[in-house]
């Protein structure tokens, strides 16, 4: 009999301890969402690129853009000055705009008429580059050409901005499988300097 009450008492004490622990965990969980909420918000709705704001007038920095090499298989790096921006998103925007604006006599891997619609950067360092449909519609096709188009964008950002470690190309605001049927664009791609031939490129 005594042993049984002892058994029951111990059980009740364990129950009380468990309840205390349970409440502690629940309270802890309820206190975290507020702080946790901030992190997805900042990574999911980062500052979007704006047209001309964010750059400092007069001040420029040297960057390396990419054009198609004479062999048609690689990218040559081309030095250009772009306006200095105080933050990654604006600087990335300036770089992509400069990449899209490269002109003859340079041959670029960017299909005719391609415009930058928006650019986002997550906390993780993934940049989302939203391009107009011309990047796909006016693409000549073929794995080789498609790789050069994709890595013109990916490497232009990752080579110039160490804060950006991955780049995913979107078309008209949408995630796409590929631009022309070959290169998998369903996830951010990392820097690949095998396509780049000239100075300014170094393996990570």
């Amino acid at each position: 009999m005594k042993r049984n009450s002892l058994f029951a008492t111990v059980a009740v004490i364990i129950a009380a301890l468990a309840l205390a622990w349970f409440l502690f965990v629940v309270l802890l969980r309820q206190s975290t969402p507020a702080t946790r909420g901030a992190s997805p918000a900042s990574s999911e709705s980062p500052a979007a690129a704006s047209d001309d704001t964010g750059t400092t007038p007069g001040r420029t920095i040297k960057i390396h853009l990419l054009s198609v090499a004479a062999d048609g298989l690689h990218l040559d790096s081309v030095e250009r000055d772009v306006p200095y921006a105080g933050n990654t998103v604006d600087q990335a925007t300036a770089i992509i705009k400069a990449e899209l604006a490269l002109q003859a006599p340079l041959v670029t891997a960017i299909p005719k008429g391609t415009q930058l619609k928006a650019l986002y950067v997550t906390d993780k360092g993934d940049a989302y580059v939203d391009l107009s449909p011309e990047v796909s519609q006016n693409h000549p096709g073929g794995t080789t050409a498609e790789l050069l188009t994709v890595y013109s964008i990916v490497d232009a950002l990752t080579m110039n901005l160490p804060a950006i470690t991955g780049v995913q190309i979107l078309v008209d605001g949408q995630e796409v499988d590929t631009l022309a049927g070959h290169v998998d664009l369903r996830r951010p791609l990392q820097k690949d300097v095998d396509y780049v031939r000239t100075a300014g490129a170094s393996k990570p």
Partner: protein, 428 residues
């Protein structure tokens, strides 16, 4: 003997404890995962259900603010910021924002609660979560958002089969195999042919024309013409079954092409294309196999495959291996590279190669192929001379001959390896 009333009291108290703790067992059958996020650490308990480490769905939902709803038909919908995962009880396939993903094991009900495999975090939750979410099973960590954690010494991911030597020395076993036993092994009967089905994928088709040459030649027509010739050559001379992913004008998705190869248990997948350059004088063929960047390699290392008993038409069932679709090719990256090397060798002197000849790249159609797979760009349609060449029977036959030669060599490589394995004591 204990009096019934006090025993009942004890049992009641214990039940309270058990209810409070649920399966959060202090007896140690469960494990605690630590969630590390920029906001701090929290815990999530896992428990072994039918021998598999699982999270109670309610706990997982509480930990990541997921909304869970069970419908009358039994499906469970997990939603987060407008994206959904749909689970079906006792089925190890989930729909993750419309994509079918195979889970490590099926969700199961125990003690009035739903349990899901811990791998669900990587396989289904991470893709819809919006920010980084990574479960490291061996170190019992879940990394959320922008945090870093030292990588515990995890067991290396299952190594892919060793890349076969390009030219196997006939008299000696492959270098990675143990020495042959002194006495010959008993005869194993007729050896299984290592390649019995090949899927040839004529690139593009239907409304997807692919590259268009300056004189109007379409990539989809060239790929079809070569695919038909290759099928004839292989079937006629090797007796291997060859299936084309399309017959004529249909438009197929990349996944549909790989699915045909997976569903027919093909041993090889060869996708044929003709390419383009932004420079009109670029010419030559180039052979591609899948390349993985650091993220993709890491993601595939955490994915696991599982075997399942599935019913087959005509009665009975058979063991089917379920491999996460997006990682199917990762196990064959080395073998695919070997095949690409063999094709390059066979092309030399017969089909001109471009300045790179061979490349590993993240190519969409190869990702889902659950067998050695390559993509062959046969030449540049953007180059007017090559466009003419690609349209001729002679050039197409040269390509077919070279691919045929590479397939024979690849088969011999597999046979040599299989023989060496058998002689080495039947390992694997």
């Amino acid at each position: 003997m204990l009096p019934v009333t006090s025993r009942r009291r004890g049992v009641l108290a214990l039940t309270v404890v058990l209810l409070l703790l649920t399966w959060r067992s202090v007896a140690g059958q469960g494990t605690i995962f630590t969630i590390i996020s920029p906001a701090g650490r929290r815990s999530l308990a896992a428990t072994a259900v039918h021998g598999h480490e699982m999270f109670a769905l309610n706990d997982l939902a509480a930990a990541f603010q997921l909304n869970v709803q069970a419908d009358t038909l039994g499906a469970i919908t997990i939603s987060y910021k407008g994206k959904t995962i749909i689970l079906t009880p006792d089925q190890n396939l989930a729909s993750v924002n419309g994509r079918i993903v195979s889970l490590a094991t099926a969700p199961t009900r125990s003690n009035q609660q739903w349990f899901v495999p811990v791998e669900l975090v990587n396989q289904a939750l991470a893709p819809i979560y919006g920010e980084r979410l990574e479960l490291r099973a061996d170190s019992h960590l879940i990394l959320e958002g922008n945090v870093t954690a030292p990588r515990a010494p995890e067991p290396a991911p299952t190594p892919a089969a060793p890349a076969a030597p390009v030219q196997p020395a006939p008299a000696r076993p492959a270098p990675s195999q143990p020495a042959a036993p002194a006495t010959p092994p008993p005869s194993l009967g007729t050896p299984q042919p290592t390649i019995s089905t090949i899927v040839i994928d004529p690139g593009h088709g239907g409304s997807d024309k692919g590259v268009q040459g300056p004189h109007g030649t379409l990539e989809k027509d060239i790929t079809m013409a070569v695919a038909r010739r290759l099928k004839c050559a292989i079937e006629g001379r090797l007796g291997i079954r060859v299936l084309l992913s399309r017959d004529g004008a249909e438009t197929l998705s990349a996944d549909a092409r790989a699915a045909l190869a997976n569903n027919t248990k093909a041993d090889l997948f060869i996708s044929l294309h003709a390419t383009a350059s932004f420079r009109t004088d670029t010419s030559g063929a180039e052979i591609f196999s899948l390349g993985l960047d650091r993220d993709a390699a890491q993601a595939s290392a955490t994915a696991s495959s599982s075997a399942q008993q599935l019913p087959v038409t005509g009665g009975g069932s058979r063991q089917v291996e379920i491999v996460p679709w997006q990682f199917a090719q990762t196990r064959f990256v080395d073998q695919s590279k070997t095949l690409a090397d063999l094709i390059e060798q066979q092309f030399k002197g017969h089909v001109p190669l471009d300045g790179r000849a061979i490349t590993q790249a993240p190519l969409r159609v190869l990702v889902g192929a659950n067998m050695p797979a390559v993509l062959v760009e046969m030449g540049y349609l953007s180059n007017a001379d090559q466009e003419n060449e690609l349209g001729t029977g002679n050039f197409q036959n040269a390509i077919v001959q070279a691919l045929y030669g590479a397939i024979v060599q690849f088969r011999d490589t597999l046979n040599t390896r299989a023989k060496a394995t058998a002689q080495g004591g039947g390992a694997r």
